[in-house]
Amino acid sequence: MKLSHLKVGEKGTIVAFTDLDMSVKLMEMGCLPGETVEVERFAPLGDPMAIRVAGYQLCLRKSEADVIIIQ
């Protein structure tokens, strides 16, 4: 399942990425395989989204959240 498909308040664990370049950036920002992510909110217009990961709040576009596979 993709991270972008989660609803507000739902949690998941990162298992893999579908885009290598993007995965480097995401991992640098703390989105590592095995980390738990929780969807905190969506922007008023539905995109981007804010997630809680590695103890802080990160925002990213849905298209970027698409590359994160979660469980």
Partner: protein, 702 residues
């Protein structure tokens, strides 16, 4: 200088606060070659006779740059010949989010430069229930670890001592086995560049294209090593990042104790629920924008008036007491007037940056980007572009400086390119003058004043043009780097008033020094062109009116005005106005308007003053009703028809709506983009657009 220190750290870790804390106002702003980020350096006293130079490097999450601005970090650290290359690195980490911050530490440590780890915001971390065992961490890393709070001035002296006592030789442990990531390629590079540092060699493999200290031949050889060993950059980066986090997990496991995770974000979360709410979020944002707009539009008008009348007073008294002559005129009407034109921007710059610095500091700006991204990214802009665009309603100069806060290079460039299209306050006098000439002051539908409607339409035209041009540029401007939106949403905090003050001071100073040079140069050129004419034309004018002036029984004011008019017509500007007439005739303009277009390149509002001189109005630009009467009565010498018809008026307003008639904006774009390429493109496209719009309008309406 005794010792060079570089500050390295993630964004939002309080790096600039620490920099300000260490250096005070003892700062210098310079350039890193090739990028738009300023190089900030400053000095601090470490001990009685030891001074350190502090270099503030751009915030970054890793040594792998995602933008050209971030690439400077590795360039400075890697190149020992770079004049910013530090003796000691102070790595600033956010103590409340240590693991992510330590990734950069771990990368930088492997470069083998002596370093210190500064855990910032230690007070905040403790409040959140995070405890860090500094001694244990220091032992495990092999470097000094200092806990500080730059905001609350805790531990700064300890940090200075630590810098002073840092060993000349790097002591940190390099525990991650970098070599195993790509052993053959790394070993080949090591022997090629004569280095025994595995990580440096690996970074060279990744980033050599961006490193300007290799020769073309070296670049080619490195590229060959990359090819022959099938070096896959992204894959190796991913593997390295995972390896580093694994190692950090092991180090940090018994160093940090955290017992308050659940509660610590509740305050920020509750604020976010309101501030990014579908209705309230936008309402509050609009309110904030209105306050900012009002501040730079209305509040700044008082100090601006003081500055203007102050410089006016200097010029007047100067003319009274200094011996009359060319040098006096050059100094007073060229240089002093130019300086006045620069200083008059300071209130707007300072006020806008006070707001921006508060919005950034509190963490609200990140939410603005979050809320506005969807709309703004459609037209090639950034969520943060909203602030410069709204600021553009008052003045493009501080607004273009405000675009600095947009991290993405392409978004920043597009914002800079379109902000001057938003109708600024300098267009207002031009619009008002022309609207009063061509639009009757009647009401439609009982309540709407036609002139008011026309003014509103002009403002809308500017905004629509800005959005359209941004959308076009989205396709035209190419960017090497991939752009991300992945961004930290920092927790809400109180603004640091000292930082707000520093920002106001620094931005005003930068503008005066950097953009000021260009503005002074242009105003001197414009003054020379207006104050001199070819041959002895000016002398003849003086002779012609000499007898009339000598007659002290009559009021000579009007004669002086006539002299000024005739001199302007015969000056180089006047000649240029005549010369461009064929080009602007299709727009409905005569040579008098041509002169106005040239003089108002200094600033748009100068058009009104020029019209006053050309139409010999004694009261100058104060007397708008007389200017209006004279302009309305003027007829074209060729056709005998009135010059200011409806068609010409609309054409002229459209020209002023689109044309880059502002040398200060040109100067600030030059300063912000660090080169002439973008200001020239901007000047060209805006002038072309203005010409075309005015041409179409006049030809359709005449």
């Amino acid at each position: 200088m005794d010792i060079k220190v570089a500050l390295v750290g993630n964004p939002n870790t309080g790096k600039s606060t620490l920099f300000n804390r260490l250096t005070g106002l003892n700062q210098k702003i310079g350039n890193f070659p090739g990028i738009t980020v300023d190089k900030k350096t400053g000095f601090t006293k470490l001990a009685a006779h030891v001074e350190a130079e502090i270099i503030d490097l751009p915030g970054t999450y890793s040594l792998y740059p995602k933008s050209s601005d971030e690439s400077i970090v590795f360039q400075v650290l890697a190149d020992q010949k770079n004049n910013s290359h530090p003796d000691v690195i102070v790595l600033i980490a956010d103590a409340s989010n240590l693991k992510r911050n330590m990734l950069l530490y771990s990368q930088v440590a492997d470069l083998g430069i002596p370093m210190i780890l500064a855990l910032n915001m230690i007070d905040l971390a403790e409040k959140q229930g995070i405890k860090i065992n500094l001694d244990k961490l220091s032992q495990k890393l092999g470097v000094q670890v200092v806990s500080i709070s730059a905001r609350n001035n805790i531990g700064i002296d300890r940090l200075k001592q630590a810098i002073h006592h840092t060993n000349k030789v790097a002591t940190q442990f390099q525990d991650v086995d970098v070599n195993s990531l790509a052993p053959e390629a790394i070993n080949a590079i090591k022997s090629k560049i004569n280095s025994d540092n595995d990580y440096y060699a690996l970074q060279v493999l990744h980033q050599h294209e961006y490193l300007n200290f290799f020769t073309a031949q070296e670049q080619e050889e490195i590229e060959q090593i990359e090819q022959s060993h099938h070096f896959e950059s992204a894959k190796v980066q991913a593997a390295e990042t995972v390896a580093r986090y694994q190692h950090l997990g092991a180090i940090l496991s018994d160093v940090i104790t955290d017992n308050g995770t659940a509660k610590k974000y509740s305050f920020s979360d509750r604020l976010d629920a309101v501030l990014t709410h579908k209705v309230w979020g936008f309402a509050i944002f609009l309110l904030i924008l209105f306050v900012i707009f009002n501040a730079i539009f209305a509040w700044s008008s008082y100090p601006m008036d003081w500055i203007e009348s102050g410089f006016g007073f200097i010029t007047e008294t100067g003319h009274e007491y200094l011996p009359a002559g060319m040098l006096t005129d050059l100094i007073l009407d060229g240089v002093i007037a130019g300086l006045g034109g620069i200083f008059v921007f300071i209130p707007q710059i300072a006020i806008l940056f006070a707001f921006i610095s508060i919005l950034e500091d509190t963490g609200y700006m990140a939410r603005v980007t979050f809320m506005m991204d969807k709309i703004m990214s459609k037209v090639g802009l950034n969520g943060k572009s909203v602030v410069p665009m709204i600021g553009g309603l008052a003045c493009a100069v501080p607004s273009i400086m405000a675009a600095r806060n947009i991290e993405n290079w392409k978004d920043r460039m597009i914002t800079i390119m379109v902000t001057p299209l938003v109708s600024c306050s300098a267009r207002l006098p031009v619009y008002i003058l022309i609207i009063s000439l061509i639009i009757p002051s009647e009401n439609v539908l009982g309540i709407f004043n036609m002139q008011g409607l026309a003014l509103m339409v002009m403002y809308l035209v500017g905004v629509v043009a800005a959005v359209l041009v941004a959308w076009v540029m989205k396709f035209l401007i190419k960017m090497k780097e991939r752009s991300y939106f992945i961004m930290e949403l920092p927790v809400y905090r109180m603004p640091r008033w000292k930082n707000v003050f520093y920002t106001m001071y620094e931005k005003s100073k930068t503008f005066v020094i950097e953009a000021g040079k260009v503005i002074i140069a242009i105003s001197i050129i414009l003054w020379v062109m207006a104050a001199f004419g070819p041959g002895n034309r000016f002398e003849n004018i003086d002779k012609k009116y000499a007898s009339a002036l000598a007659d002290t029984t009559k009021n000579t004011t009007h004669i002086e005005t006539l002299i000024a008019t005739e001199k302007l017509e015969n000056s180089y500007v006047g000649i240029l106005g005549h010369w461009i007439e064929p080009a602007i005739r299709p727009l409905g303009y005569d040579w008098k308007i041509g002169i106005g277009l040239i003089t108002s390149f200094a600033a748009r509002e100068a058009f009104v003053g020029t019209m006053a001189t050309i139409y010999s109005v004694d009261g100058g630009d104060e007397d708008t009703s007389t200017i209006r009467e004279r302009m309305a009565a003027s007829v074209n010498s060729r056709t005998g028809l009135p010059v200011y018809t409806f068609a010409t008026g609309i054409s002229l307003m459209l020209f002023y709506a689109f044309a880059m008639q502002c040398m200060s904006t040109v100067a600030i774009v030059y300063r912000e983009t660090k080169g002439w390429k973008w200001p020239v493109i901007q000047l060209a496209y805006m002038t072309a657009m203005a010409y075309f719009a005015a041409l179409v309008a006049y030809q359709l309406l005449k």
